[in-house]
């Protein structure tokens, strides 16, 4: 996917943080981008910003934890920018903050986090990847976290959802590879975002990565033909690998 001029992309969780930076970078490179977020206000501002800079962007509000939100979302996206070529599952829910031990997490909170971070991406891929497979054209990116491979006390619900999301990506990669559709996961590293502040309010922002820089790296991964199917890449070491 080296020519983003011909790319219809959808990015979830796109009103702030890494999702916003990814949508902006993709639009800057010429992709037609649908940005998805739960709230309308912040989303509209990001979309307007992209349009002012000459990009093609559309904002759609949806709660990805809701099974009935997916068809309206996928249909509107396909109508606005054409059948999707790139799907970035970036939206995720941290769960209740301040972070707490797993055994202090309410069952409903774990379910909600899994609904948004795991079942949501599954549902969206389920109804979008078939069209990619038929066209032999598509890339699906899962935004992961180092919490998916490391057991950090207090990160329970989020951590579990990201570990499962990694495996969802590997399975989709295996099943979609022969249809010419690529799936891979990215661990973006610790970024200076609202989510990071909610999780670790005392972290020094100077030690954290800029989401815009991480987005540029992820867009290079999407362009690269060298990413193995189902790979789990770390944004911080991708330069060396490529």
């Amino acid at each position: 996917m080296t020519n983003f001029q011909q790319t219809a992309a959808l990015v979830t969780g796109a009103s702030r943080g890494l999702g916003r930076a990814l949508a902006e970078r993709l639009a800057e490179r010429g992709a037609r981008v649908v940005l998805v977020a739960r709230g309308k206000g912040a989303l509209d501002e990001v979309v307007e910003g992209i349009r002012r800079r000459g990009g093609v962007a559309h904002g759609l509000t949806a709660d990805l934890g809701d099974k009935h939100a997916v068809h309206p979302l996928a249909a509107a996206a396909a109508e606005l920018v054409g059948p999707l070529d790139l799907l970035v599952h970036n939206a995720s829910e941290l769960g209740p903050t301040p972070l707490r031990p797993l055994l202090d997490t309410a069952c409903e909170d774990l379910t909600r986090v899994l609904d948004v971070n795991l079942v949501g991406p599954f549902r969206l891929s389920k109804i979008i990847a078939g069209s990619m497979a038929l066209r032999r054209r598509g890339t699906i990116v899962h935004v992961s976290s180092d919490a998916s491979v490391n057991a950090y006390a207090g990160w329970g619900a989020y951590s579990i959802s990201k570990a499962a999301l990694d495996h969802l990506g590997r399975l989709l990669a295996v099943e979609l590879e022969e249809h010419g559709v690529r799936v891979f996961s990215v661990d973006p590293g610790e970024m200076d975002t609202e989510m990071h502040r909610a999780a670790l309010p005392d972290a020094d922002p100077h030690t954290l990565l800029d989401p815009a820089a991480v987005a540029r790296t992820i867009v290079r991964m999407i362009e690269s033909n060298g990413v193995p199917p189902g790979a789990r890449l770390e944004a911080s070491s991708f330069e060396v690998a490529s």
């Binding site: 309206p72 509107a76 396909a78 054409g82 059948p83 078939g130 069209s131 038929l134």
Partner: protein
């Protein structure tokens, strides 16, 4: 001509297994019982399968301004959802369990009359001179706002023969993309991702087009006789190239559903022949229709006397179809949207 044979409908959208597949082969005049899961081995490597990737809209609007249901039946404009005008059919309001035939006493709406379905507002811009239930409507919002309102206020067109109401998840083909269909292009409902993989592994070529499948029934005979209305389609260059390659090398072009036949055969009849791009399918695939592009069709099962059945007569002769239909009835095949399917391969 044999008397029409009636098949029972499949009454639930849930499937316990793959649909049964009745293979009607005009090249050797045979009828075989198979399963849709065997489709890859029933086709030859190199055969081209063309699918309609239209997703199904929630095209039924319960009006809050009138005692009526407005069923969107097709695009009347040429730019989907930007400034779109829809052809639509009015029904008396009622529950999904009431057959549409019993809901034809719809209130009349005049030209210029405004209506609302919850928060979605629109206006009647034309009324058919012969059939006042057939109207042309325009909505206030356009583009993404229209889509959002339609998905909020509309629901999927219902079938009274089912045991439960349908939702959007029930009526989408696994490879659907743009929301252009007013009722599901149902020949593809049994084509799972696993089956697509099996077809690829067998060396079957796959191509897609988008065809705005319109409504299948209006509840009245006089209006049904005017179906299908002109339907919008878009054929991508990849499909045009794939068809040209298949035909040049003597491989078969198999359509998944009548909508694909309609799009390809309508486009092939344009002055420039089959080209990539958008168009409006006006071709009626009735008796006497001669196919130019398509060699076979995967389709739902249809009774003799329907327009679907007439279409099949362009692939194989009427006596073979009549035998196939009798066989289907004796063997318990199920018809309608969630029923069994047939693969009709034309005489060479």
């Amino acid at each position: 001509v044999t008397a029409a044979v009636t098949l029972p409908p499949a009454r639930t959208p849930e499937r316990t297994g793959p649909p049964r597949l009745l293979v009607v082969d005009g090249s050797n005049q045979t009828i075989r019982d198979r399963s849709l899961r065997e489709l890859p081995t029933l086709l030859e490597p190199g055969d081209l399968l063309v699918l309609n990737d239209a997703a199904t809209l929630p095209a039924s609007l319960a009006l809050t301004s009138h005692d009526a249901e407005l069923r969107l039946a097709g695009f009347d404009g040429d730019t989907a959802f930007r400034d779109v005008v829809f052809r639509a059919v009015l029904f008396r309001s009622g529950s999904w369990r009431e057959p549409t035939e019993e809901r034809v006493a719809a209130p009349a709406l005049g030209v210029g009359e405004r209506f609302a379905a919850g928060s979605l507002r629109g206006r009647v811009v034309a009324v058919d001179s012969r059939e006042p239930r057939l109207v042309t409507v325009r909505f206030e919002p356009t583009g993404a706002a229209l889509l959002a309102a339609l998905y909020r206020e509309g629901r999927v067109i219902q079938y009274s023969y089912l045991t439960r109401p349908l939702e959007l998840w029930d009526v989408q083909n696994g490879y659907a993309a743009r929301p252009w269909a007013f009722e599901p292009p149902s020949a593809g409902l049994g084509i799972t991702f696993g089956l697509l993989t099996g077809l690829r592994r067998r060396g079957i070529e796959l191509a897609r087009l988008s065809h705005a499948a319109g409504i299948s029934s209006t509840g009245s005979l006089s209006l049904d006789q005017r179906l299908p209305f002109p339907e919008r389609y878009e054929i991508p260059v990849e499909a045009v190239d794939a068809v040209a390659r298949a035909r040049a090398s003597g491989r078969r072009v198999i359509a998944v559903g009548t909508t694909v036949v309609r799009a390809l055969e309508s486009a092939a009849r344009l002055p420039d022949g089959l080209r990539a791009g958008e168009g409006s399918a006006t071709l009626v695939l009735g008796p006497g229709f001669r196919r130019q592009v398509v060699d076979g069709i995967l389709s739902g099962l249809h009774e003799q006397g329907t327009s679907h059945f007439s279409l099949l007569e362009s692939f194989v002769d009427r006596s073979l179809l009549a035998s196939a239909n009798r066989h289907a009835a004796e063997s318990g095949y199920l018809q309608h949207e969630f029923g069994d399917v047939c693969l009709v391969l034309g005489s060479a």
